[in-house]
């Protein structure tokens, strides 16, 4: 079973280019202008996606500390801030790239909500808020599908190696490694998108804030 998990992780990593929509090549074909509205939209999408990634990744590892809530909040806030910053820059410099992320997020939300709806029909205590929650997780994963797939593969690979090597490494730790991989991969993709949006020569916008140090 442990070897099967390792094989699954490798297969997941290798297969993502075959199905993942968008990506750097796709984004380059989009329009490369930004706007203040797109920057605000990017901030919202990035923050939402980042926060969901942060909280999801924290659920298992933070449950091993008595400061469980504090730990999870720190993860949520950090990831949300990374998403917020990256999303703002993506929107400000390249609204086409943001459009790809939003499209992926919408597809992810729909897929997640569909799963949530099935769960609602099967699991006694599940309600509409849980459908919304699975949708929100799908949204976070779908906004950066390449990063999600790569991160999942890398996380499961590392987790599987640790699982094979360390007897005290438990099955939930392997699941946690996968979720942390998803968060790390997706957030990295947000940051990479922001850098590429800037370097792709977008017209950019002036962000209406001034700072005094």
């Amino acid at each position: 079973m442990r070897l099967f998990a390792l094989c699954l992780a490798v297969a997941c990593s290798l297969s993502f280019p075959a199905w993942a929509p968008g990506g750097a090549g796709g984004a380059l074909a989009q329009e490369t202008t930004g706007s203040a509205g797109a920057a605000i939209g990017g901030a919202a999408l990035g923050a939402a996606s980042g926060a969901m990634l942060g909280v999801t990744a924290s659920l298992i590892p933070c449950a091993k500390t008595l400061s469980q809530l504090t730990c999870s909040r720190a993860s949520t806030l950090s990831a949300g801030l990374i998403g917020l910053g990256s999303g703002t820059l993506v929107g400000a410099w390249d609204s086409g790239r943001l459009g790809s992320a939003a499209k992926g997020a919408a597809i992810g939300f729909g897929a997640g909500a569909a799963v949530g709806f099935v769960l609602k029909e099967v699991v006694r205590q599940y309600g509409w808020l849980d459908v919304l929650s699975t949708g929100a997780i799908g949204m976070a994963f779908g906004a950066q599908p390449e990063g999600t797939a790569l991160g999942l593969g890398a996380g499961l690979f590392v987790g599987s190696v640790l699982w094979l090597a360390i007897p005290s490494y438990e099955l939930p730790d392997l699941a946690a490694a996968g979720l942390i991989g998803v968060a790390a991969g997706s957030l990295t993709a947000w940051v990479v998108d922001a850098v590429q949006a800037n370097s792709s020569g977008g017209s950019g916008v002036t962000i209406p804030f001034s700072f005094t140090i």
């Binding site: 996606s49 969901m52 909280v55 933070c62 449950a63 500390t65 008595l66 939003a102 929650s133 939930p172």
Partner: protein
């Protein structure tokens, strides 16, 4: 497109703002509730209730309580057992018996050398007194109310019955001649079978009389959970409080995200607070901010030695709920690395001594029982010395 993005942003903002503090506080339950699950079947047997002080928890628990039947109390064992000697030890067993699927009579015979017979239970050589802390006990009764099926009942669990029949907890106590304290937590499905319905919950079966009966409705997560506690006496007035506990396996996804997966940590915090209230005679505990690193064990060591054992539904022995229990039960047997539910370490026995130090865990005596006896959980057993 921007409108769609804005919707995501609003959702995220709502979720982040909802990630508010999660807390646990307990109080002495009022005595004038109508809920049938609060009544003892035997008249004159008072049960002291403790419950969460939060209105949301209390409301949910009350709603679920209305679907179950009364508690069952048989404080004295029907069989004759030898007096508890000054050098005797008592076996404490924690076992989730899967709605009667676990073959308790066979377990007692093979593990504890006790044969259940209605009239004359037989104690084999080397017999020792024991207390079984049971989870997922079930009871069939006409007294369980008929509730509209619109209520979201847990689905009915029907195990593969043991070879000698599918006994409920009342029949089991009767057959084995044991003292019984059973408090249902929730229904076992909505069905009515031959005019009877089923509920399920935690129970204590004992060869020694049960006193000071306490029911602790835990903070509500996915379903109502009621821990049951009672005291048993050794020789020379030595007393031990035993508690049967079953925590939730998971909350809803929304609640898991909102509370950062602190469901079991919050329930164990509620249990610890209620046990502290029992010891101090207090009415209301303070609020503990669950997950902030704060733990309030009450005054340790307390006036009476306490065992809290059962199915904690944990996926790791390093989970915060277990760490918290270990902090508040510092005399617990060490973790032996043996899972009891498939690959998962769900079942634990926690111990704390009293100030007089007369009750103590017998070092090295805890072990996992290898056979499942028809349950989906393996039992744990530990021995405690109740000295003069």
């Amino acid at each position: 497109m921007m409108r769609r993005v804005g919707v995501f942003g609003a959702g995220a903002t709502a979720l982040l703002s909802a990630a508010c503090a999660t807390s646990a506080g307990m109080r002495l339950g009022p005595a004038d509730r109508e809920c049938p699950g609060r009544d003892a079947a035997a008249e004159g047997e008072a049960i002291t209730w403790y419950e969460p002080s939060g209105p949301s928890d209390a409301e949910s628990n009350e709603r679920w309580c209305e679907t179950v039947g009364p508690a069952v109390v048989e404080t004295l064992p029907r069989a004759s057992f030898p007096r508890f000697g000054p050098r005797d030890s008592i076996a404490v067993v924690a076992w989730n018996i899967l709605i009667g699927g676990g073959d308790v009579p066979l377990f007692l015979e093979e593990v504890l050398g006790y044969e259940c017979h209605t009239r004359s239970p037989a104690q084999n050589a080397g017999f020792s007194h024991f207390v079984l802390l049971i989870q997922e006990a079930h009871r069939r009764s006409e007294a369980i109310p008929d509730v509209p099926e619109s209520f979201k009942f847990p689905p009915r669990i029907v195990p593969e019955p043991p070879s000698e029949g599918w006994l409920d907890i009342v029949e089991l106590a009767d057959t084995c001649g044991l003292a019984l304290f059973y408090v249902p937590s929730q229904r076992n499905g909505p069905q009515t079978v031959d005019g009877e319905r089923e509920d399920k919950g935690n129970a204590i079966l004992s060869t020694l009389p049960l006193e000071d009966l306490v029911a602790i409705a835990l903070p509500f997560e996915a379903g109502r959970k009621v821990a049951v506690a009672a005291t048993i006496g050794g020789s020379s007035g030595t007393r031990l409080r035993v508690t049967s506990v079953h925590l939730d396996i998971a909350s809803t996804l929304y609640r898991t995200l909102k509370t950062a997966n602190t469901a079991r940590l919050r329930q164990s915090a509620g249990l610890i607070q209620a046990l502290a209230l029992i010891e101090t005679g207090g009415v209301t505990s303070g609020l503990v901010n669950v997950g902030s690193g704060e733990t309030d064990c009450g005054d340790l060591p307390g006036p009476i030695a306490t065992v809290a054992a059962g199915d904690f539904n944990t996926w790791s022995a390093g989970e915060s709920a277990i760490d918290q229990m270990r902090l508040c039960f510092p005399d617990s047997p060490p973790w032996d690395g043996e899972p009891t539910y498939g690959a998962f370490p769900t079942d634990f026995i926690f111990v704390r001594r009293a100030a007089d130090g007369r009750v103590a865990y017998v070092d090295g005596s805890q072990r996992r029982i290898e056979k499942r006896y028809g349950s989906d959980h393996q039992a744990r057993i530990a021995w405690l010395r109740l000295s003069e």
